[in-house]
C-alpha cells in the first residue's frame, strides 16, 4: 500500500516514486493499456463506418450527428452507465475500454469520412483508369492518402484518452489516476503533493509518448510525403 512521507515538499516525489515504484509502474502499465486499446478498437470500428458515410452520401449527416451526440456525453457518466448496458461489474476495466472506444469511434468516424473524401477526384479517376476495382482503389489509393488525416484524429483521441482514463480512478479503477485520489486522501491533515505531481507528470509523459508513436507510425506509413518534402 502507499506510504505517506512525513515531508510533503513537492520535490519528495522522487523518494515517493522509489518507495512505491512497483505499484506506480503497474498503474502506469494499466493506464497505458486502457488508453491504447480503445484507440485500436475505435480505429477498427470507425474505418468501415467512415467508409460507409463516404460511399453513401445520405449516411453521412445522420452518422456525423449521432457520433457528435455520443461525444457530448461526459466520460464519468459513460463509465458509470456502462455496467447497466454491458452487465459488467462497476469496477470492471472493460467499462472504461468500451466507453473510451465509443468516444474514439465518435471522434474518428467523421475524420475517416472526411479523410477519404479529401482524396483528389483526378487521383481516383486515374486509379479507376488503371483498372483498379473499387475495393483495390480503397486499399491502395484512398486509405493511404487519408492516413495523415486519420493520424491527426488518432493523436487527439490518444491524448484525450489518457486524461479520461484518469477520471475512472475516482470510481475506483486502478490506474495512474489512483495517484490523484491517493494524494487527495493523504491531504486530509495538510497538503501532500508528491503523488499528485507524480501523477500529473506521468500522465503528460504517457500522452506525449503515445502522441509521438502515432507521429512515427504516420511517417512510416506515408514515405512519399518525405520524398516530396525533400525536393
Amino acid at each position: 500500500m502507499i506510504l505517506a512521507d512525513d515531508n510533503s515538499s513537492p520535490l519528495k516525489l522522487f523518494s515517493y516514486f522509489s518507495n512505491n515504484h512497483s505499484q506506480v509502474l503497474s498503474w502506469l502499465w494499466s493506464h497505458a493499456w486502457l488508453s491504447v486499446v480503445p484507440v485500436v478498437i475505435g480505429l477498427i470500428v470507425s474505418l468501415p463506418l467512415g467508409w460507409l458515410a463516404r460511399r453513401y452520401r445520405w449516411v453521412y449527416p445522420p452518422m456525423v450527428s449521432l457520433t457528435g451526440l455520443l461525444y457530448t456525453i461526459p466520460s464519468i457518466a459513460l463509465f458509470v452507465v456502462m455496467p447497466s448496458l454491458l452487465g459488467t461489474r462497476i469496477l470492471d476495466p472493460i467499462n472504461v475500454v468500451v466507453a473510451l472506444s465509443v468516444y474514439t469511434v465518435a471522434l474518428l468516424v467523421r475524420v475517416v469520412a472526411d479523410g477519404l473524401g479529401s482524396v483528389p477526384e483526378e487521383v481516383n479517376q486515374a486509379a479507376t483508369a488503371m483498372g483498379l476495382t473499387r475495393f483495390q482503389r480503397l486499399l491502395k489509393v484512398e486509405l493511404p492518402i487519408a492516413v495523415p488525416v486519420i493520424a491527426a484524429g488518432l493523436r487527439v483521441a490518444a491524448v484525450s484518452n489518457v486524461s479520461m482514463v484518469a477520471v475512472a480512478a475516482t470510481i475506483g479503477v486502478p490506474e495512474l489516476g489512483q495517484l490523484f485520489t491517493n494524494g487527495f486522501q493523504l491531504s486530509v491533515s495538510g497538503p501532500y503533493y508528491p503523488p499528485i505531481l507524480l501523477g500529473l507528470i506521468l500522465c503528460v509523459i504517457l500522452a506525449l509518448v503515445l502522441d509521438f508513436a502515432i507521429v512515427l507510425l504516420n511517417r512510416s506509413l506515408t514515405p512519399w510525403r518525405r520524398v516530396v518534402a525533400a525536393r
Partner: protein, 255 residues
C-alpha cells in the same frame, strides 16, 4: 449486474427530486451544477474571447495560444485535486467555498483554451480578401475586427464555446469527488453507499444536461451566425449552384 428498472424507479421517485433533511434533491443539484458551469464559462469567455480576437487581429503574441493549448494535455482530475489541495486549506469561508473556489479556477482553466484557440483560429481564417475589401471601403481597424472578422469567426467561436461547455459540465461532475455539490454528488454518494440506481441515475442526468446545453448552444449558433457566413439559405430562394460556398469548419477543439 445493475438493471435499468432500478434506475428508472430512482429517477421517477418524486422524493429524490425534492430536498430532504441532510440531502439535496435533484432539482437543487441540477441548479448547483448549472450555476458552477455558467460562472466558469462566463469567466472563460471574458478572458478567451477578447484575447483571441486581439491576437487573431494583430497576429502578435501567438505563442500565448500554443502555451494555453499545452494546458489541455494535463488530466483534469489531477488538476482538480491539485488545486483543491493547494487552495482548499486556505479558505475558511462559509459553506462550499473551500471546494467551490478551487473547482471554479480549474473549470476556467479548462474552458479558456478552446474558446481562445477557436476565436484566434476563426479570426485568422477570415479571407484576406474580405479584410482588404473592408479596409478598402474605409473601415477602421476596429470596424474591420467587429464588423468583418468577428461575424466570420462566429461559427468557430461557437464550436469552441460548445466544447468548453461540455468540458466544464463533465469536470463539474468530477468535482463532486472532492466534495462539491452538483449532479456528480449522486454518482459519488451512490458509489459510496453502493446505491447503484442512484449512481447510474446521476450519470444519466449529467449526460442529459450535457446534451441539452449543447443543443441550446447549437440553437444560439443558428441564430447568431449570419446566413452569409453559414450558407444556410432557403433552397427555393437561390439557384442550386450558389449553395456550394459552404464554410468548412476547422475543428480546433476536441476535449
Amino acid at each position: 449486474m445493475i438493471s435499468f428498472s432500478g434506475v428508472i424507479t430512482w429517477l421517477n421517485d418524486p422524493g429524490n427530486w425534492r430536498d430532504r433533511v441532510g440531502q439535496e434533491g435533484i432539482f437543487t443539484q441540477l441548479l448547483n451544477h448549472l450555476q458552477y458551469s455558467v460562472v466558469a464559462i462566463l469567466i472563460a469567455l471574458a478572458i478567451g474571447l477578447p484575447l483571441g480576437l486581439l491576437i487573431g487581429h494583430s497576429g502578435r503574441a501567438t505563442f500565448i495560444v500554443s502555451a494555453v493549448n499545452a494546458l489541455r494535455a494535463l488530466p483534469t482530475v489531477g488538476l482538480l485535486i491539485l488545486f483543491y489541495v493547494i487552495i482548499g486549506p486556505h479558505i475558511h469561508g462559509k459553506g462550499d467555498a473551500a471546494f467551490l473556489i478551487p473547482t471554479e479556477i480549474v473549470l476556467v482553466l479548462l474552458a479558456t483554451p478552446p474558446i481562445l484557440a477557436n476565436t484566434y483560429a476563426g479570426v485568422q481564417n477570415v479571407e484576406p480578401a474580405a479584410r482588404d475589401a473592408a479596409a478598402g471601403m474605409g473601415m477602421t481597424s476596429t470596424q474591420v475586427l467587429f464588423r468583418v472578422e468577428l461575424p466570420n469567426a462566429l461559427p468557430l467561436i461557437f464550436s469552441g464555446l460548445r466544447s468548453a461547455a461540455l468540458q466544464v459540465i463533465a469536470t463539474a461532475t468530477i468535482a463532486a469527488y472532492v466534495g462539491l455539490g452538483g449532479l456528480g454528488r449522486f454518482v459519488y454518494d451512490g458509489l459510496a453507499s453502493r446505491d447503484f440506481p442512484q449512481m447510474t441515475g446521476g450519470a444519466i442526468l449529467v449526460a442529459i444536461l450535457a446534451l441539452v446545453v449543447d443543443l441550446l448552444l447549437a440553437l444560439g449558433q443558428r441564430y447568431a451566425v449570419s446566413r452569409g457566413v453559414s450558407g444556410r439559405f432557403s433552397k427555393r430562394a437561390l439557384p442550386a449552384d450558389s449553395r456550394s460556398g459552404e464554410v468548412v469548419q476547422l475543428e480546433v477543439a476536441s476535449a
